[in-house]
Amino acid sequence: MPVDTLNEMILGFAVILGVVLIYVLSLILRTRRAKKQHENSQADKLKSTD
């Protein structure tokens, strides 16, 4: 009879997927911010040429 380690299994998967998910979220947020900065600079450039 194997030992009961169901909770540890759930925790293990939660930690691995959680770490990856947090990184993915940080990547999404950083990309959004950089895109916004880029778009704002493009809009400023257009305004200055008008």
């Binding site: 380690t5 169901l6 540890e8 990856v20």
Partner: protein, 226 residues
Amino acid sequence: MPKKPRLLTALDILTPILILGALIFILFFTPIERTMGHVQKVFYFHVASAWAGMLCFILAAAAGGAYLVTRRLYWDALSLSSIEVGWVFGLAAILSGMIWAQPIWNTWWVWDPRLTTTAIMELIYLAYFILRNGLKTPEAQARLGAIYAIIAALTVPLTFFSIRLFRTIHPVVIATGGDGSAFNMTPRMLTAFLISLATFTVLLVTLVWHRTRLVTLQRINQQKGL
């Protein structure tokens, strides 16, 4: 910013499907190990995380070498991205290993050669970001980053072979010898193991690709003084 390639969009869709598929296969179609019980199933993603991390660090060294030869900043972006993604995978491997060790070794951490070399590898790559941020120009960052990535990659074979070179309590997963030191997998366990390795390899490609695009965009913004 260059338009998002179709292959990257396909990877964005494919990667979560693969992760979910691998998880379902592991949870419902692999046997429960006789002595360790359910927690053994963490091993598939734990090893795959460690594999992906090491692959990223090797990729970073190769990209660093390519930068030193060509002096193109794209290679530096790839090297930086690979190290960042590799560090995340390394952290996931260490934390999941600790969770596995608690019921199996009755402790969260031991200064075993494999655990120690993995921790050192992770700390060396953490120092990469600190050193890099201390430099001002992108060229200086790229030059130091490339040299550092190549030297730091020496920790990858040291970590990988540590369980073969030193006395250790860490299980040997990839081994051909029948001396009992290798972890014996049933065909279904082996299938789950290979699926996990493939899934995490696809995941690392997706993440590194996205991160490299972000570095490129951040550099464009920096050049504009934003």
